[in-house]
Subunit: 554 residues, 2 copies
């Protein structure tokens, strides 16, 4: 089933007739392709029903099936390639929709996405231009309007005025949150250093000329130290340099400290650096905490900063009547990122950025003669990407089929399940909750009772030293437990490294849990803890356990 097959009968297949056939729509459902379609559906259903996260196969071993770089001269039959895919790709994939896959933000999909995606693939529309997208263009604009309304709640007249306007945009569809964040900061940068007298603006003349014209030594965007790495990527790409993304200290709950923010702004200004952007986080990637958005909006207003909210994860919390208050202030943001392939439950490859001011995206407008001509309704004039698929159709479908109350339920049960899991961890003698969940994300670690006693004990120079040593041992244990559980393949939690205040900023390795799959029950969570306790008894971990005990009983 590898790749080539140079037999002469195979070479016949590449004749033009055969080639034309693969581009021709099969007439009947009983055709070869029709049958193949059926068999793929069954195989996929089988894979998705099986609730194990991943087969225990080493990546290096899997690589053996993907080493050939020669493009085969002759073609494989579709059925041969399908067999290969089912055997070597599907069977060796990660079951991201398993209820015990709770380690990343990639989660389960509503099953209706599979048949509906077929419409998108078969139509193969290109959203860059109405000539290749027709109805998909107003559909995409409608979805932008729906989510704009979710965030900004403008009145009907506003949406009637701007929704389909050729010159203004309520936002931009992107391949994901990273491009959405870059788009927001790109627009912010271009507005902050716009045309001014002789100066034709940063979009035209670049960063160097802009800073010289405006008389500054640099430009800065501020964000808490928990900001997503896409923001530092954005700072690099946009020519500010990673140093142009200025990290601000957080409090015990991983929220930006407003007084530290004010101090940083003053410090930058003093250095001749122009702070023009501020990013608030609605759901940090690691712990799911939310910055005080309303306070940030005040500070942004005061210092005339573009206020962007990275709600890639937490944005959809707005669907919940009960919890949307946690994002209070988001409606004051100049721009907001929401990832559709996260908590809107749409397949991978779609995020979006919304702008309060429909004219904001004009600062990044591009035109060309053969495409996206001025005055057209072509969406390509105001997006970072060019040719783009019709993913908006799937977001539209999710919003309609799940509905506001459906999303509310998904959000509420995620937040409440996380709270319940936090209590379960708190009550368990062998675990320590590291971050209390604000949304549906929490972190914890394995920490045997003897270690907990030491960690909670009296303060002294000697105890502090012991604790540092103990944390290092626990870090090793957590790394081992997480890796081993992943390899077992029954469940998956991820891990990251935090610097909690209670341990004086010492790096602490933690399990990270993201509870977005509605099929994840408390029973599943209980079993994950049981498995971790079991793994902690592994012979391989014995020396570390002993060291922990010796240290704690010293």
């Amino acid at each position: 089933m590898a790749s080539q097959g140079h037999s002469s009968d195979k070479s016949v297949r590449t004749s033009l007739d055969n080639l034309l056939r693969i581009f021709t729509v099969p007439e009947a459902p009983e055709s070869t392709l029709g049958r193949l379609d059926q068999s793929i559906s069954q195989n996929m259903a089988g894979f998705l029903q099986q609730h194990i996260v991943a087969e225990e196969i080493d990546l290096a071993e899997i690589e053996q099936d993907f080493t050939d770089t020669e493009i085969p001269e002759s073609a494989l039959l579709v059925s041969e390639q399908t067999d290969f895919l089912l055997d070597k790709v599907v069977a060796q994939s990660v079951h991201t929709s398993s209820p015990s896959f709770i380690g990343h933000m990639t989660s389960a999909l509503p099953y209706f996405m599979i048949p509906l995606s077929k419409i998108m693939i078969a139509l193969n529309q290109n959203l860059v231009k109405t000539e290749t997208s027709k109805a998909f263009t107003p559909l995409e604009r409608q979805v932008l309007g729906m989510l704009h309304r979710l965030v900004y709640s403008n009145d009907e007249a506003f949406y009637q005025r701007w929704l389909h306007d050729a010159h203004q945009h309520l936002g931009a569809f992107c391949s994901g949150g990273t491009i959405a964040n870059i788009t927001a900061l790109w627009a912010a940068r271009n507005r902050a250093f716009g045309p001014d007298g002789e100066f034709r603006g940063i979009a035209e003349e670049g960063v160097y000329a802009a800073f010289k014209h405006y008389g500054c030594e640099g430009g800065a965007v501020l964000v808490s130290e928990r900001g997503h790495y896409s923001l530092s990527k954005a700072a690099d790409v946009l020519g500010l340099g990673r140093a142009g993304l200025v990290a601000v200290e957080t409090d015990d709950l991983n929220r930006i400290r407003p007084e530290a923010l004010r101090a940083k702004i003053a410090e930058l200004t003093e250095q001749g650096i122009h702070p023009f952007g501020l990013v608030g986080i609605a759901g940090t990637t690691e712990t799911g905490h939310i910055d005080p958005l309303d306070t940030l909006a005040d500070i942004a207003e005061e210092h005339q900063l573009h206020f962007h909210v990275d709600g890639a994860w937490g944005g959809p919390t707005l669907f919940s009547e009960k919890y949307r208050g946690r994002l209070a202030g988001i409606e004051r943001a100049d721009s907001v990122t929401i990832d559709a392939h996260k908590q809107l439950y749409v397949p991978m490859g779609v995020g979006l950025v919304l702008f309060k001011d429909p004219a904001a995206l004009n600062s990044i407008e591009h035109h060309a003669q053969y495409i996206i001509r001025q005055g057209s309704k072509d969406l390509g004039s105001n997006t970072l990407e060019g040719s783009r698929p019709g993913m908006a159709m799937l977001v539209h479908s999710a919003l309609k089929i799940i509905g506001r109350r459906g999303y509310q339920l998904l959000i509420d049960q995620g937040i409440e399940k996380a709270a319940a899991f936090a209590r379960m961890i708190d009550a368990h003698p062998e675990f320590e909750l590291i971050t209390e969940p604000e949304l549906n994300i929490l972190t914890y670690r394995w920490c045997p009772p003897v270690a907990q006693t030491l960690l909670e004990g009296a303060d002294s120079a000697q105890a502090a030293e012991q604790r540092t040593e103990l944390n290092e041992l626990l870090n090793r244990s957590t790394r081992y437990l997480q890796k081993t559980q992943r390899e077992h393949g029954r469940a998956f939690v991820s891990r990251t490294r935090l610097t909690p205040k209670r341990y004086d900023g010492q790096p602490i390795v933690v399990f990270r849990v993201v509870l977005a799959n509605p099929l994840t029950t408390e029973e599943v969570l209980r079993e994950i803890l049981i498995e971790q306790v079991e793994i902690a008894k592994d012979a391989a971990l014995m020396p570390v356990r002993q060291q922990i005990e010796q240290l704690c009983l010293r």
Copy 2:
């Protein structure tokens, strides 16, 4: 079928049980979803078999179906939404795979893409990290290797060494050619202004500090005036400013003029601007012409420029033994963009950039603790995007199922069909060929015999003036013809504006034809000309026709 439905029985649907059900795999193919899947398949087959390009409906009218921005409280049934999609979206889409849709680079798909895409959607892998992609990671690397080999033809040992290396990358998958071009120029910029002594590099310190450190007034990338608009977008995004993308004059065949390029480089250097990049085009978007890549490689070497080839369209010409020579020199490029959703015939949303030097992408490397940790094989560390779908699976399938010889046939017949169409236009009394095709793209315009006589007539000041006036009238006609033909919906050619040397750089509006669909026959092309001749007789065009005649017989 609009959006809301607040009846109490509908609100019941949003109960948690119902919600869990939509996330649960249907057990049997005879389930509701199974039947829906069948009916979508049949509907799509029906749509794709129907050979009209688009229904004649005005965009403003279509917008009426997409005006509601309120997210429905209660959910629609999947079948209700499907009906809406089939009725209002599919039926009002553009039939991009119609043999008479020859206006854009979005073309037909091999039909096997539809069932195979289901695997990608159902698995919902995320390529940012091996923990969410497993087998998809080595698969994506393999595809990069296959296309790298197509371009650079390194030996087996090279690919065995680097294909699955954790620290080096043969290229990057992207959502399309725009991101691919930005990625190439980003890496080029970061290498050209890299760390140097105290200076920590442009990635860290930004454009302003970099230019100050290196003592230049600007940075420039050179490209012919036919460069794709994504390059000027890249220059804006990357902080060079659009002025940092320097356009170089082209010759009669829309190819960059090497002597003009050398002069520009000298001019920039004199102005204290550092030219660090040169883009060669392998298939201009408008006319499909190819720059003299080998000569550009010499110049790049001489001036130490990063040499990028934008082969978004023309790259796959390398599959053809007969025509690959037209891209000679591409193997000397530092980086090459190829769009998979163009001439690799993969669904919308995937392009890639290849790098000659596997270490080149290290200049844009990003890491984070919770994801893409240093030393892992996570692909997210060296891509502009973050979370990404497993489109590589579809490229892999296309390369295997179509095979090298299949692609060769596709390329050859496209180029030869364009040559035949050019002869057809040349021979036709009512049309004028504007650009001779080098690949499968050509431009022409409607030009009645009387006009052709004037255009080809003797040179005099008076004649030149008459020609200018005539060209303006012809421009109006071409615009009308193209728009009207599109509205009729039976065929689609696009239009653009060129500045041919033979008309002294006067802007000339032309029909633009892209021949990538193997089902487009010469008969289809003949009919397109017949329809255009018919439209030229429209009453609406009568005044312009009369003006043309008066002018020519003056």
